[in-house]
């Protein structure tokens, strides 16, 4: 078994790429240099890979091992809380008979606590390692233990499987209580206007060069497509119904078609995301803690509201009141959580996390007010309008200030900035509906929206050089919203200028959506990168400080040095404990059968 392990190891990308253990004395150098490092599994059980360390022939293969482990050390074997990343061993191609000091195994870099998958033992037991490299990549993905940590039932399923297969059950790997990734980690690890680009000094806990399972790559910002399309449906409905635009002779069927497409699209997107919640809850959690993605959690409900607003007359004309309450409840609960965080919650204060995507959390209030007012409700819409107004003021001021403490603002123009236009245009429509006339309050909001729209439109030359992402669909609905508000304004103040304006804005909105549709199709079918690996959710819980310092320090240090170094470099106490016991651990391990 041990020999097998030594013999055949697949070369798979390591998790910790930058750790070059060839710098440790006793390793091979040249061969190792090109090789990615093994990733050693730190299990909660006694039977780990480490036992082989005593075996000389394996030392070589052990050396490039890095143990990635949670602070609570399983090395002592007592703490079952240890979770480590379930990774297949990466190995060198050929075993080289280099005697390694047993302590080479101490080059466990307890740098990053990782949630573990479990069942590595059974992977070992089942003898996966000797399998040939060629595999069906899709089945690979399904069984790939690297993603197990993100699976919802990571531990239980594998344990059940292993007991079914009759293997001795390992110590119950009690999964570490998943700590909330603090918001600072997101700011440290990511950059870019959508906070989805990994900084060069950071690592992620999922393999970078392999395509992750589809659900893991499926971001919540996909609901932006529903927002974009359903707002188009509303626009075409308004174009058909408003008298001042009758000269365009728009048929209500356009609205019907678009609406049906939106419904289907929403069903598909929602089903996929529901699957993600069920199967990969950890990923959903991390998206929730992401300072930008959290705003997209409002998107499904806003999309549903749009669907209700844009419902064609052929489907229904009267919507029941309870539907409004049902749709607004999730928005209300989310708001309580998020606005409360702005006011009082720890590190997520607005001066730090404010970004244009926060408009999505505010716009929901106005959309709900619009729907409620068009249904005939009175008090509820005013409630949400008031709450939205107060928080919109705060957000607007904060974003305009572009505070130095703010880390998430795009430094240059980015389509996300179009979200500025969304809130005032929808607010003006909502107020007009509540008051049954497009009075001064609505006009003020409308003119603000128009000003923001034009000040962005004249800079459209600068919207260049950004990587396309699905979230861009969410940025089209402000343009559509501005068009709808203009149509409403035209019905009040009907002259040639306003009519031209409404036609112009409608055209721009339609063209944008169309262009975006083409781009999406291109990315989906031609370039096949519509869903790239979602780096933002895979950032590690800690800074990889050890890695950096380790890098520079390495130059023929002995094992004592390594241990000693590890004691002081890792910031975590528990890591230190681990590091200090590595020595004893090595000897105490029993070789695998």
């Amino acid at each position: 078994m041990a020999q097998n392990l030594g013999m055949k190891k697949e070369v798979i990308p390591s998790l910790i790429r930058s750790i070059e253990d060839n710098e440790v004395v006793g390793f091979d150098d040249n061969v190792m240099k090109h090789c990615v490092l093994d990733v050693e599994l730190m299990d909660s059980g006694e039977n780990k890979i480490e036992p082989e360390i005593s075996n000389d022939s394996l030392h070589h293969h052990r050396t490039p091992s890095i143990s990635i482990s949670m602070p609570s050390s399983p090395m002592e074997g007592q703490n079952p809380k240890r979770v480590a990343f379930n990774v297949e061993l990466v190995g060198k191609n050929e075993p080289e008979p280099e005697p390694e000091p047993p302590t080479v195994s101490t080059t466990k870099f307890h740098s990053q606590p990782m949630p573990t998958g479990v069942g590595f033992e059974e992977a070992v037991a089942v003898g996966k390692f000797p399998k040939p490299l060629v595999r069906n990549p899709r089945i690979d993905n399904l069984k790939d233990e690297r993603f197990t940590s993100f699976k919802t039932w990571s531990g239980k399923l594998e344990r059940q499987l292993s007991t079914l297969r009759g293997k001795p059950p390992s110590e119950p790997p009690v999964s570490t209580p998943r700590e909330n990734v603090p918001v600072d980690r997101y700011f440290d690890a990511l950059e870019g206007p959508e906070l989805d680009i990994l900084r060069p000094s950071e690592e992620i806990i999922l393999p970078e060069d392999k395509k992750w399972p589809f659900l893991l790559r499926y971001p919540i910002s996909s609901f932006g497509i529903c927002l974009g399309v359903s707002s188009q449906a509303i626009m075409w409905k308004n174009l058909a119904l408003t008298e001042s635009t009758h000269f365009l002779h728009v048929s209500p069927n356009v609205n019907l078609v678009l609406w049906c497409i939106s419904v289907v699209l929403f069903a598909v997107v929602a089903a996929a995301y529901l699957l993600k919640i069920i199967l990969y809850f950890e990923a959903v959690r991390r998206e929730y803690y992401h300072p930008i993605r959290v705003n997209f959690f409002f998107a499904p409900w806003i999309a549903l509201l749009f669907l209700a607003i844009g419902v064609p007359a052929k489907v229904t004309t009267e919507l029941p009141h309870f539907l409004w309450y049902v749709l607004m409840t999730p928005i209300f609960i989310l708001e309580l959580k998020i606005y409360g965080q702005w006011m009082s919650g720890g590190q997520r204060r607005l001066s730090k996390v404010a970004n244009p995507s926060n408009h999505l959390s505010v716009v929901g209030n106005f959309v709900g007010a619009l729907l409620g007012a068009s249904m005939g409700l009175k008090e509820g819409p005013i409630f949400f309008f008031a709450v939205g107004m107060a928080h919109y003021t705060v957000l607007f001021v904060t974003l305009y200030q572009r505070l130095p403490t703010n880390e998430t603002l795009p430094k240059e123009l980015h389509p996300v900035i179009f979200l500025f236009v969304a809130a005032p245009s929808v607010a003006s429509m909502a107020w007009a509906r509540i008051n049954d006339s497009f009075d001064y309050g609505s006009r003020i909001a409308y003119f603000i929206a128009m000003f923001l729209y034009f000040s962005l439109a004249v800079r459209v030359n600068f919207f260049r050089g950004f990587k396309f992402s699905l979230a861009w669909w969410a940025y089209t609905f402000p343009m559509t919203g501005a068009a709808i508000a203009t149509i409403r304004y035209t019905s009040e103040v009907s002259n040639i200028v306003t009519k031209l304006l409404s036609v112009g804005l409608t055209t721009i909105a339609t063209l944008t959506v169309f262009g975006l549709l083409v781009t999406t199709i291109l990315h989906a079918f031609v370039m096949r990168d519509l869903f790239p690996n979602d780096i933002a959710i895979a950032i590690s819980d800690r800074k990889p400080k050890t890695v950096r310092k380790w890098f520079h320090r390495r130059a023929g240090s002995s094992e004592k040095d390594i241990e000693h170094y590890l004691k002081y470099v890792t910031s975590n106490e528990k890591d230190v404990v681990e590091a200090s016991v590595t020595d004893k651990d090595v000897e105490s391990q029993t070789p695998l059968p």
Partner: protein, 401 residues
Amino acid sequence: MTTIVQQPPPTPTPTPPQITLTVPSTSIHSNDHTGTLIIIKTLIIPIITRCHAGYFRITLSLCCQTLLWKTLKDPPENAHAYRRILGLFPSTAFLLLWSLSLLILTTLSILYILRCALFSNMVKTEYLNHIGVNYLFAPWISWLLLLQTAPFLTPKTVYYLLLWWLFVVPIFVLDVKIYGQWFTKGKRILSRVANPASQLSVVGNFVGARAAAQMGWKESAMVLFTLGMVHYMVVFVTLYQRLSGNTCLPTVLRPVMFLFIAAPSMASLAWDEISGTFDFSSKMLFYLSMFLFLCLVTRPNLFKSSMKKFNVVWWAYSYPLTVLALAATEYAQDTKSSFAHLLMLLLSALSVMVSIVLMVYTALNTNTLLPPDDACDPTNATLDPINVSSINLDSSLESSS
């Protein structure tokens, strides 16, 4: 606090043993004439030194409760059934409460005047502290509220007017001083000193505006309302941004965050009085206040650490709830729906319950009400009031003898 100790005579002459009253770090030798005076002094002086403006929270709550009871016990003619039920409130209870509020407010005011006279340096320290300065508004707000609830003074009389002027002028003066500091004076930058207690100054403006509108003085009411509204917007945005992080309010003072609820409710009431009806603006302010209330109430962990030991800060829970209940009353009166009246009943019941619980708790814990090391007074974080008082007492005694 004081101990009567039988001490051997300190002087070599064979004088009979003296009874000395000792305050730590100082001892007082008494003559028969001034014995009682000194006993009084040694009892009252420590109270005065510890009685900072934050204690006016108690009076704020009591006066607000009185206002609520007054509003509830006189339902208007076409009131909803629920509201008429509340009209069965015995008016003697209201009179009792009013007298209690008057008594406590007068006592506290006199104590505070004495404090200003005798220990003006401590008052100055309070003024310079960014949290304490807001509580300088509290006495005037309490008096204004009590004025509005006076059973024998109607808003149209001259006395009401005079008293209104008496209480509003200090508020206005404080406004000019404090708001002006925000944007002119070097160190008192709002982004650094803003804290939830800053909303108390805003509430003061709204209370004055409401009282003015009740008198019929619409223009003055508008002046005060505008002043309050503008600064409320600035403070609201700044507080939400939390530019200085969490450092501006110590955890013991977390109940002060309930002021987030008080400000929009008071604004809603003031606008209701000014415009005559509970229109859109008042409704929106009321809804905002409701939302903030729900936000805070669903976060009990915020307040856990401040609830460990009884503290006068606990009174900060009561008056925002009362103001919210008052606003709910006006709201229900306007909307006339059962849901609104239920809401009013709920909020009123909550505020009454909280006030009663606080009163009972305070009565049971009077010894800890004025703790020597008053943790809830931010200005006294390091200052030991007893030492200061004893030094002053020493010097005053020496000068008198």
